[in-house]
C-alpha cells in the first residue's frame, strides 16, 4: 500500500524526532558555512539538555573563532583570556564542586598559548570537561599555523607548507595529556558525518557522567575542519580532513576509566 500522508500530516508534534535544543540560543552562529564548531556546540548542548543540568552548568569559552560561543549556548558562560580557560574552570569547579564545568577551546588556545594551563589542570585532575576543537589552524586570525598544523600543510604563516625542521613538529597534546594521572577519559572524535557525530556526542555524555562522579578530568578532542583557513569548500574540507588529518590524528579512545 502506498503511503498517502501529506506533509502537514507528517509534520505533527507527535512525529517529531529531531529539533534544535533549547540549550542553544536562536542567535545565528558566527561560524563559516560547514564549520564543525556548530555541530560540536550542538551536541554539547544536547547532552546538557538530556542530562537536565542547564541550571547547574557553567561554560568557559576561549579566544579564537569560538570566542563568541556565549552567544550560542543558552548557559551561564565566562569568556577567558587566550589559553586560560582551564584556570577559570579550575576555580569555578573548586568553588562549586556540585556544578558541571566545561571549557571549549581551539588548538591555538589550548595547545599553544594555554599549554601550561591545560597540562596542569589535567595533571591536577580537576573535575572538569575540556572540549578541544582541533582544525590544525588559527581560524579567527586568518589561517595562521597552529601547534597542530600537519607537516607540509599550508597556512598563512607557513605558505610553503609546514617545514618541521624550521617550524617544529605538530603537537599531539591529546596523547600527551593521556599520560597524566589526573585525566580519567581522553578521546579523539570528529563531527563531520552522522556516525562520528553520534560517537562524539556519546563521548561528551560519558565525560559529563564521569564529572558527576568526581573521576577526574575528561578531555575530548574533536578533529574538525576549517574550510576558510584551508581554502576549500566545506565538503572538500571534510574529505581532506579524512584523508590527511585523521591518519595523523586517529579517532578513538586513548584513555578510558578502569572498570
Amino acid at each position: 500500500m502506498e503511503h498517502t500522508l501529506t506533509k502537514e500530516e507528517i509534520r505533527q508534534e507527535k512525529n517529531l524526532v529531531y529539533k534544535k535544543t533549547n540549550v542553544m540560543t536562536d542567535n545565528i552562529l558566527s561560524y563559516c558555512p560547514g564549520c564543525g564548531h556548530g555541530t560540536a556546540h550542538r551536541i554539547l548542548a544536547e547532552v546538557i539538555e538530556e542530562m537536565d543540568i542547564q541550571d547547574i552548568t557553567i561554560g568557559v569559552d576561549p579566544v579564537g573563532c569560538s570566542v563568541l560561543a556565549y552567544n550560542f549556548f543558552n548557559l551561564d558562560m565566562q569568556q577567558a583570556a587566550h589559553g586560560r580557560a582551564p584556570a577559570l574552570a579550575t576555580a569555578i569547579k573548586r568553588l562549586f564542586p556540585e556544578k558541571f564545568v566545561f571549557t571549549y577551546q581551539g588548538d591555538g588556545d589550548l595547545a599553544a598559548i594555554g599549554t601550561a594551563e591545560t597540562i596542569h589542570a589535567c595533571n591536577r585532575g580537576e573535575n572538569i570537561t575540556i572540549i578541544f576543537i582541533n582544525n590544525g589552524i588559527y581560524g579567527m586570525t586568518g589561517g595562521q599555523m597552529a601547534p597542530t598544523t600537519l607537516p607540509g600543510m599550508k597556512s598563512s604563516t607557513s605558505p610553503y607548507g609546514r617545514d618541521v625542521q624550521m617550524m617544529g613538529n605538530p603537537l599531539k597534546i591529546t596523547e600527551l595529556v593521556a599520560q597524566l594521572p589526573g585525566t580519567c577519559f581522553v578521546t579523539r572524535q570528529a563531527v563531520h558525518t552522522p556516525s562520528t557525530v553520534r560517537r562524539a556526542k556519546r563521548a561528551i555524555r560519558l565525560a559529563f557522567e564521569y564529572q558527576s562522579k568526581n573521576m577526574g578530568l575528561s578531555f575530548i578532542e574533536i578533529v574538525s575542519n576549517c574550510n576558510s583557513g584551508w581554502k576549500m569548500t566545506p565538503r572538500q574540507s571534510n574529505e581532506w580532513m579524512e584523508a590527511n588529518m585523521l591518519p595523523f590524528y586517529p579517532l578513538g579512545d586513548i584513555k578510558v576509566p578502569e572498570k
Binding site: 552548568t57 569568556q79 577567558a80 586560560r84
Partner: protein, 364 residues
C-alpha cells in the same frame, strides 16, 4: 558589663593578610610563590581554611594561572583573591585587565620588591605607576590601597573586598617587602561566615551560577566587538572611577595645620617620613606629613589645598619619582615640589629624609 577582649596577635604583614582573608569570609585564594610574599600562601596552606570556613586555597602553576583562577571565581560572584610580588604582578597584568574589563570584584595584593626585571627581593615602591595608572592594556584603573602597618594589611583586606564588590572592580593592596615581612601587633576582625549561594545570587545577580529557567543567561566577558557598545562600556567604567574619586579618597594628615613644608609619602616611606617629621620639629622646622592611603583615587584636593599655604613639598618614595607626578598635577605649580627617593631595595633613613628636605627646599 562584660568588656569584649580584643584578639591581638603578633604577625607578619603577609600573615595578617591571610588571616584577615579567612576571617572576612573569603571564598578562595589562588597564588604562586615569590619572595617576599610567599607567607600568604604558606600561612593559608598551614591554616587549612578549607576546614575552618570552607575557603578554597590553591597553589597555581604560575601567576598567570592564579589571576585567571581569580577571574573564574570572581565571575561566579565569589570573594576571591591573589597575592604576588612585582615580577609576578607583571605576569598577572593580562588577567587584571580582563577582570577590570569584565567588571568583576577581586582583591590583589602586591608586596613590592625592587626592579626592574628580577631586580631584588628587598622592599621598594617602584610599582606605583603600574598600580595606579592601570598596569595592563586598555583604559582601566584599580582602586589602590597603600598600607603602612601590619594592622592596615589586615584592615585593608576587609576594606578591599568591600570596595571591590561596591564597584565591581579589582582592588589592589600596594604593600612592600618591609610591611609584608615585618612583625607587629595586629587586632584581628571577628570571623564572618562565608556567603551562601542564595546570598551571592542576591548580591551579584550578574554571577554565573548556572542558568535557571526564570532568568536570561549570565555572561562574563570583556569582549564587545561593536565599537559603539564598547565605547559605552568604557564610559560606564570611567564613571565608576569618577565616583571613586568622590567617595573613596582616603589619606592621613599629621601636623599639617601649621606646617610650612609638607612631606608626602605612602606605605613604608610614610613611616620613615613620620620619624623625619619628628626630627624636623625638634629642630624647629614646621613640617607636616600627608600620607595618601588610597593611591587611586589620589588625594588631589587635600594636596591642592595644602599647596596654597606651604613653602614646599617633598615627595618621599622608594623609587625614582613616580607619585611625584600625581602630586605635581595636584599642586599645579602653586608651590615647589621636590622628590627624594632611594631605590633598588633601599629604605631611606629619617635623617636622610630630613637632610633632603633641608637641602632641596629649606636651604635651596
Amino acid at each position: 558589663m562584660l568588656r569584649m577582649k580584643k584578639e591581638l596577635k603578633l604577625m607578619k604583614g603577609n600573615e595578617a593578610v591571610a588571616e584577615a582573608a579567612i576571617r572576612v569570609g573569603a571564598d578562595g585564594y589562588f597564588g604562586y610563590p615569590i619572595t617576599p610574599q610567599s607567607e600568604v600562601l604558606e600561612y593559608l596552606m598551614a591554616e587549612k581554611p578549607y576546614e575552618r570556613t570552607g575557603m578554597v586555597v590553591l597553589q597555581a602553576e604560575s601567576e598567570v594561572a592564579a589571576i585567571n583562577m581569580v577571574y573564574g571565581g570572581a565571575g561566579c560572584g565569589k570573594m576571591v583573591m591573589t597575592s604576588s610580588s612585582s615580577p609576578g604582578i607583571s605576569l598577572k597584568q593580562e588577567g587584571i585587565s580582563y577582570i577590570a574589563g569584565a567588571e568583576l570584584p577581586c582583591l590583589i595584593v602586591n608586596v613590592v620588591r625592587g626592579g626592574p626585571g628580577l631586580g631584588t627581593i628587598q622592599p621598594s615602591q617602584s610599582d606605583y605607576f603600574q598600580a595606579v595608572k592601570g598596569g595592563g592594556h586598555g583604559d582601566y584603573k584599580l582602586l589602590v590601597l597603600a598600607p603602612a602597618s601590619v594592622q592596615e594589611m589586615a584592615d585593608f583586606t576587609t576594606l578591599g573586598f568591600e570596595l571591590a564588590f561596591k564597584y565591581r572592580n579589582p582592588v589592589m593592596i600596594l604593600s612592600d617587602g618591609a610591611i609584608g615581612q615585618m612583625m607587629e601587633k595586629v587586632e584581628l576582625p571577628e570571623q564572618k561566615p562565608r556567603r551562601t549561594e542564595e546570598q551571592i545570587r542576591e548580591q551579584c545577580p550578574w554571577a554565573t551560577l548556572g542558568k535557571p529557567k526564570n532568568r536570561e543567561r549570565n555572561i562574563i566577558t570583556s569582549l564587545e566587538l561593536d565599537s559603539l557598545k564598547q565605547e559605552q562600556v568604557n564610559l560606564r567604567i570611567q564613571a565608576k572611577y569618577e565616583r571613586m574619586k568622590k567617595e573613596e579618597v582616603r589619606y592621613e594628615e599629621i601636623m599639617c595645620d601649621d606646617a610650612e613644608y609638607i612631606l608626602i609619602a605612602f606605605g613604608t616611606s610614610a613611616r620613615i617620613s613620620q620619624k623625619a617629621l619628628q626630627l624636623g620639629r625638634e629642630k624647629g622646622i614646621k613640617v607636616g606629613l600627608l600620607r595618601p592611603i588610597t593611591l587611586f583615587p589620589f588625594p588631589e584636593e587635600a594636596i591642592a589645598k595644602l599647596s596654597q599655604k606651604v613653602k614646599g613639598m617633598l615627595v618621599v618614595e622608594m623609587n625614582a619619582g613616580q607619585m611625584i607626578e600625581d602630586v605635581r598635577l595636584s599642586v599645579c605649580n602653586r608651590t615647589k615640589v621636590e622628590h627624594f627617593g632611594r631605590f633598588g631595595g633601599i629604605i631611606p633613613s629619617p635623617t636622610e629624609v630630613l637632610h633632603a628636605l633641608e637641602q632641596k627646599l629649606i636651604g635651596g
